[in-house]
Point group: C2
Chain length 245, copies 2
């Protein structure tokens, strides 16, 4: 049974794409058959692994999912690319979450791990991704606004969890762009751990410029700067997620 | 005639809210009657000026806009607060941009400046804000992904500009979280100025931790840390926007 991890947070720029990409590369390198799904109309996950977005969104065309999957430069990692087509994005936003879910679930059972990168919103696309997932991972930037939208996010997650047909659980909360020297970082860390307890991963991802340089080379941080602080943290996170089986 | 500035970019976490808040406080302190409109369901602009979001979204209730406006702690600055109500956000997302626009335009003529803070998406709310505005200001983070979604953003802006009934122009592109020491920052700066030329503001906003601390005190950076690098840059930006009359 595939572990389908939805990487979501309506707050923008918190490290959703960076986490989805580096976790999926990490799992593939650890020998797990992995699929990265790009549900964001910006298609950042697609270009971060060196691929081009599709003209038409794979979830809109009625073809079976298998036909839209692409191999990446990482052995064991496939990609379901995103699309920037306004029409298709609008169509998906109007479609019922259930239709998207059944299309998504149709192609993923051949994998050990599926990572879904979501757009920064709580619209239909994110809701569909949550209903199709077995766990949700919420990246949080160590900033003041980070805590603000979280209650809405948790409400949506709880609603999806309560529907019998879904099997969504809390995968974990990840602190990103962590800077030990900043008081704001330490304050947010303490507040998040107070509030969420065990769900928060022990691993934090430090702010590391090589992480933000990697996508301009179409590489994950793991491939671009294997010995950097950011890469070591993502590898540690992979181990922690694997332990939480 | 009010200058209505739409602060928009579908990329998340690029400094839309921080720019809308600090520009609106800056204009108010320069003696301009200013209105800050919070169109983002996260309501970050509302809390950043020390207010609470409304139960119902002011643009959904049929009351005239004037009744939802609130005074802030800054003389000359009023706020149209946001709302986190899922139902109302969904209603707005389904509503025609035209309806939202006529409701918005109804209450703003008493002001010299109106700043609209948009969510990180190109959905109906952002489209409605663009149709109601006289100019669009696009904050860009000096990161690789920053250039990616920009073409889509420009397509939507061009489409809105071409409709006769609108009066939207390019207000400018603002480089945010600028770090002179990073090569990535210098690369994005050069690429953006090559591509967009004069539209890019001379003023850049440096990365400055006091800017991200300010909202936790319900204050703008200008009020929280008046002598900081970030504040000086936002005041310079105010002057530059005023000159572009
Ligand atoms: N640990 C890190 N250190 C430094 N920069 C980082 C780190 N993680 C992410 N970034 C950079 O921060 C920016 C935001 O990250 P990213 O795009 O992954 O966030 P996101 O949540 O997917 O954004 P969106 O809401 O737009 O989808 C990117 O430019 C990315 O390269
Ligand atoms: N110049 C700056 N220096 C340091 N931190 C900044 C700066 N500008 C913004 N920030 C911080 O970066 C984060 C993102 O900024 P902000 O929330 O304004 O972006 P946004 O585009 O409105 O995000 P969203 O897409 O979620 O609406 C916030 O935590 C903010 O405090
Ligand atoms: Mg993303
Ligand atoms: Mg914002």
């Amino acid at each position: 049974m595939a572990r389908i991890v939805c990487v979501a947070n309506q707050k923008g720029g918190v490290g959703k794409t960076t986490t989805a990409v580096n976790l999926s590369v990490g799992f593939a390198k650890a020998g797990r058959q992995t699929l990265l799904v790009d549900l964001d109309p910006q298609c950042n996950a697609t270009t971060a692994v060196g691929k081009q977005p599709e003209e038409r969104h794979p979830l809109v065309s009625r073809d079976p999912l298998r036909e839209s999957l692409r191999k990446t430069n990482t052995k064991g990692l496939s990609l379901l690319p995103g699309s920037r087509s306004f029409q298709d994005v609008d169509t998906l936003e109007q479609r019922e979450a259930e239709t998207i879910r059944s299309h998504l679930s149709g192609g993923v059972n051949a994998y050990d791990f599926v990572l879904i990168d979501c757009p920064p919103s709580l619209g239909r696309l994110t809701e569909a991704a949550l209903t199709a997932s077995t766990e949700v991972l919420i990246p949080i930037q160590c900033e003041y606004f980070a805590m603000e939208g979280l209650t809405q996010m948790i409400q949506v997650i709880r609603r999806v969890m309560q529907e019998d047909s879904n099997c969504l659980e809390f995968g974990g909360i990840l602190l990103t762009m962590y800077d030990h020297n900043l008081e704001l970082t330490r304050e947010v860390d303490a507040e998040v751990r107070d509030f969420f307890g065990q769900i928060v991963f022990d691993t934090v991802i430090p702010r590391d410029v090589t992480v933000s340089e990697a996508p301009s080379h179409g590489l994950s941080a793991i491939d671009y700067a294997p010995r950097s602080k950011g890469t070591r943290a993502y590898i540690e996170l992979c181990m922690e997620v694997l332990e939480r089986e």
